[in-house]
Symmetry: C2
Subunit: 323 residues, 2 copies
């Protein structure tokens, strides 16, 4: 009899699609994974006290450092550096002027150290004069020619597989999933669909001013050099409110620029979750937090326990990092 049960169990294990049943196979079986799955179960099970109807299941993810590698420099800034280089090559007088000099020297640390306000300004200026469509095509072409200095892969392929699995699970359970990024909205829209399965219209980001102009008899949109909305810090709460008009159930970030987004999300009533990805894995990725110019995580680490935010350890909670 015991043999018979063992045989049946063995048959079951051999035939059951165990891997397919785990919606988050790249996550280790830790408390972090359990807490995420518990939240999803709570808000989507019709009999749960915390059930949330379909239309209010909103999840928001930061982009850089949360869904995508952001070291040694944010991907959008890497694109800006290459734009600066090509501008300096055609205008030699700029070669000794910052930030062109730093770009030509491949000194991304110096560029990152300019600080976020100067960077937002730089992003708006370097890609002005194009239409959003032209800009997206330029970004597409740029991705095809660039590789990450350490991982030697196209930068839009260095996505975090555990997060892509989480996005897939959430969509399957009726969530609308948005990217809420400090990067330019058109920049992230250029790859959001192929990288994460998130369509352009579900990307909320920083925006520059747009002008509607006539080219001959035809209307065209042009990117102007002025910033319109900085979608970072409290700006993320404003971006979510203006675009979605609903408070999210789940917010995932990795830096202090996500603080207010997590705070606003988790201050809502009912079951909600704020989570921060902690980059503590120097071997497989990078180790950085309180003192990093890129993706600084300081207040978030301090306040996470009191606010009951989940800290996801890249080292301990993720079995696999990249696809």
């Amino acid at each position: 009899m015991r043999f018979f049960i063992a045989l049946l169990t063995g048959l079951f294990l051999a035939t059951a699609p165990v891997a397919a049943q785990d919606p988050l196979p790249s996550w280790r079986q830790t408390a972090a994974k359990e807490r995420i799955l518990a939240l999803v179960h709570q808000v989507t099970s019709p009999k749960s006290r915390s059930f949330v109807p379909h239309e209010d299941r909103i999840a928001v993810f930061d982009n850089d450092g949360t869904l995508l590698l952001e070291q040694p420099v944010y991907v959008e800034i890497a694109q800006v550096i290459d734009r600066l280089k090509s501008i300096a090559l055609t205008q030699p007088s700029l070669r000794d002027v910052q930030p062109y000099k730093a770009a030509l020297d491949n000194d991304s640390a110096a560029i990152a150290a300019m600080g976020s306000s100067a960077l937002f300004d730089l992003v708006a200026k370097t890609n002005a004069g194009m239409s959003p469509d032209e800009f997206r095509a330029a970004v597409d072409a740029w991705f095809k020619t660039t590789r990450h200095p350490r991982f030697s892969k196209p930068l839009d392929q260095l996505t975090y597989q555990p997060m892509v699995e989480l996005i897939r699970l959430l969509k399957k359970r009726g969530f609308k999933v948005y990217i809420v990024t400090g990067s330019g909205v058109e920049f992230v829209r250029a790859f959001s669909q192929r990288a994460y399965g998130i369509p352009p219209e579900n990307v909320i980001g920083s925006t520059g001013k747009l002008a509607v102009v006539k080219k001959g008899e035809t209307l065209t949109l042009l990117r102007e050099p002025q910033i319109d909305h900085i979608n970072d810090g409290p700006g993320k709460v404003i971006g979510i409110s203006e675009t979605i008009g609903k408070r999210p159930i789940l917010a995932v970030g990795n830096s202090d620029g996500d603080y207010e987004m997590l705070q606003w999300t988790t201050e809502g009533s009912g079951a909600r979750l704020g989570a921060l990805l902690h980059h503590d894995d120097a071997k497989r990725e990078y180790h950085y937090d309180r003192n990093s110019a890129v993706g600084r995580l300081n207040r978030g680490l301090d306040d996470a326990p009191a606010r009951n935010w989940l800290i996801i350890s890249m080292d301990k909670d993720w079995k696999r990092i990249f696809p």
Copy 2:
């Protein structure tokens, strides 16, 4: 044999759910209906030369005068008038000051005649100081107490049934349908789901500045009295680009404020359609166009033939107007 065929035909006609098969039962069998159905067929039939994949099927509708009665005054302005009244009642010194006096006199024509720039300003100012959630609750409560002067119905129930049917058809055929309105985005979000089945996140509208402030330890959003984005005329093209990032396949409006939205839509490649609802039905609704302060349609009427835009006649093309 002939009798037999006639019998079979009769049986078929008697049992076939003819009404259920017509996706637009409130539209008369006119060229307008044919052209709309042809466009939907063209872009959604896999074998069509003009086939558009699911993810690029974007349709945009203006709100006031396109989906909803806008006479004698835009619904949002009716709400503003009532706000002005209640402010004037608590501050008697305002009773002889415009626009409070006009509000107290129920002189909506005088308010409408202020012009769109002054009206946008007025909208931003009268509802400042609330959070978007509080504002939406206030709008909800207001709809419950107000009736249309001629039709004696709640203002959010005076929707155009033929348009609601068209929205339903488009959604069924894989379109994402957005409202692109000159009215405040939060105002239209308050009723878009119940009135048209369009969720708040699919409403693009004018916005006022928002501030993120702390109430005690909790984050709150507050509506500030300044306008941020005027989603009218060329502003509609900017709103669509910033929020959706795709050029629509179908754009439906009714006034010159929709001109650029239709132009931008129909200047794209492939099969596209721009349509303007002409209010030419004084008996069942209103007759107005070139000289109306509310919903003026002048350039659109002039240019529709050359631009191949469809003019929908409320009088001739619609069997039924309201639900």
